[in-house]
């Protein structure tokens, strides 16, 4: 049985390794500062007590005043899971550090988010569109996206 780690407990467990990285927590979710995502993920993966070796999914949501990128993580050895969130402000060039170096599984998912939501992942080795073609105008999953004028 996989146990979801509550945000508060997770915040406590990463406090020493990454002081000041946590923004807030609520229920099962933990929000971290966007620029510290890579550092926190590094700790979540390598810490022997946490050992998050499986990145289930990365999702991005456009809340208009900010973007939220959600990481669902699981540890196959400790049988626990966590939800990590990061809020990115600004619509011009929202940027997050890429976690491809930690989990190869982030590769296509980060490309997909860049393609459809327009959140850039710094340090991704091949960040280009994946479902749409190069030169497509805009990022269609954004809430303010309008179809190209006819």
């Amino acid at each position: 049985m996989i146990r979801p780690i509550p945000g508060e407990e997770l915040a406590r467990r990463i406090q020493d390794a990454c002081p000041g990285a946590v923004e807030r927590w609520a229920g099962l979710d933990l929000w971290v500062r966007p620029e510290r995502v890579l550092e926190v993920c590094q700790h979540l993966k390598s810490d022997s007590g946490l050992g998050f070796n499986l990145l289930n999914s990365i999702s991005a949501v456009d809340y208009v005043e900010h973007f939220e990128v959600v990481y669902h993580l699981t540890s196959t050895s400790h049988l626990h899971s966590a939800v990590l969130k990061a809020r990115v402000f600004g619509r011009e060039d929202p940027t997050l550090p890429s976690v491809v170096g930690l989990w190869q599984g982030a590769d296509y998912q980060e490309r997909e988010i860049w393609d459809l939501m327009g959140v850039r992942f710094e340090g991704h080795p091949n960040l280009k569109r994946i479902l749409l073609w190069e030169g497509y105008p805009g990022h269609p999953l954004r809430r303010d996206y309008l179809e190209a004028p006819r």
């Binding site: 949501v61 196959t76 190869q104 296509y108 073609w133 269609p140």
Partner: protein, 390 residues
């Protein structure tokens, strides 16, 4: 031994030397070839830009998007019930499991719990769907191996019976929309149960038949053993799940480690492979079909009469919040991330598509192998473009 050309069966290099003096000193350059988008072995409209040195693969770049319909955007303008029809069209050879993952996510969001009977019906339907999907995967894998159409038709023979059962359940065969948030569309009709029992009785014999024909088939074994090996660590690091991960030897099955619906009340084994090569990825699907039959048998024994829909408003308005629900789909971890803003349509509808993410390792698996092996490896991953491109 001589051939018709009067050449002895010397190693290929020797033969060319004799045929074309100076051939071996020819300069060769890598050649880039497009496999697809219209190609019988790409399992849909899918393009692979492959760089070859002779027949050896140096690099592969998969190019997606030919079937992109914007399902995630479309869902933002539909009610929670209407979205079910969109999930049918994601992995269109496994609509039941798509329905199931989506309704579980919506139920988690809305705090609904379906009645017992509905959960059993869903598990029966989902396991039948897993068998149908694995039959497709096995048939097409053999197609890709060069056993053109014959094994595929055998597999389709049984899949047809499952589709007939689905037709009894909901009137549709492919785009099923059988499940609803809070239950299923309708109870199974009376004649469904004898038909299901008949299928459960016949199917093990058919699986025996595949095994007798295929498992020790020399061509199949020679072509797939040791080809495109995926290690457990690599698979986990690349978020590879489902039969592909289990074929590498890691017993990770969400039905066991994170049971949903009634999976905690049935007993079944999790088959695992040893080497993580194409052969194991082929074999594991045959083994999993047997386990799915076991699950359906137990569900048929345990199911009790009762309602099949929870009391829920016609227009569902889940409270603002988010939910991620995942199931063990036929191709891997199938997850839906839903965000609600309290209105009748999901604010965000995100699919965690297993075959899209399993494709991440394709490049690592095929580099150094030959074109014909790449086609088989692609078949062993079991992709579905409806799900990859959304």
């Amino acid at each position: 031994m001589t051939t018709g050309l009067g050449l002895s069966a010397a190693p290929p290099g020797e033969r060319y030397k004799r045929l074309l003096p100076g051939a071996m000193s020819m300069r060769s350059e890598p050649v880039t070839v497009n496999v697809g988008p219209q190609h019988p072995s790409t399992h849909g409209v899918f393009r692979l830009r492959v760089t070859f040195d002779g027949e050896i693969i140096l690099d592969v770049e998969p190019i997606f998007g030919y079937l992109h319909r914007g399902s995630e955007k479309l869902a933002e303008e539909r009610t929670y019930t209407q979205v079910i029809t969109l999930t049918d069209r994601l992995d269109y050879v496994a609509s039941m499991t798509n329905n199931q993952a989506y309704v579980l996510a919506a139920e988690k969001l809305a705090g609904l719990r379906p009645p017992e009977r509905a959960m059993y019906l869903r598990v029966i339907a989902a396991e039948l769907q897993r068998i149908a999907s694995h039959l497709m995967a096995t048939g097409f894998l053999l197609n890709d191996l060069g056993a053109f159409a014959t094994p595929l038709m055998y597999c389709f023979r049984e899949r047809e019976k499952i589709l007939d059962l689905f037709e009894m359940l909901c009137g549709a065969r492919i785009t099923l929309s059988y499940m609803r948030v809070g239950g299923v569309f309708q109870d199974a009709p009376e004649d469904f149960w004898p038909a299901l029992r008949k299928f459960l009785k016949e199917m093990p014999g058919y699986i025996d038949e595949y095994e007798a024909l295929l498992v020790e088939n020399e061509i199949l074994v020679t072509r797939t053993r040791g080809v495109s090996v995926l290690t457990v660590d690599h698979a986990l690091n690349a978020s590879v799940t489902g039969p592909m991960l289990r074929a590498s030897g890691f017993p990770w099955d969400l039905r066991v480690v994170d049971p949903y619906e009634v999976y905690d009340r049935v007993r079944f084994d999790v088959p695992v492979g040893k080497a993580g090569d194409n052969y194991d990825r082929f074999k594991i699907r045959l083994d999993e079909m047997r386990q799915s039959l076991r699950i359906v048998e137990q569900c048929v024994e345990q199911i009790e009469p009762g309602p099949v829909r929870a009391e829920s408003p016609a227009l569902l308005r889940p409270p603002a919040g988010d939910a991620y629900a995942r199931i063990e789909g036929p191709k891997g971890e199938l997850g839906f991330y839903l965000v609600s803003d309290g209105s009748i349509a999901p604010y965000r509808f995100k699919l965690r598509a297993p075959s899209f993410i399993n494709l991440t390792v394709l490049r690592d698996l095929v580099i150094g192998w030959k074109l014909a092996d790449m086609i088989v490896t692609l078949g062993s991953i079991d992709i579905n473009m409806g799900e990859v491109d959304r």
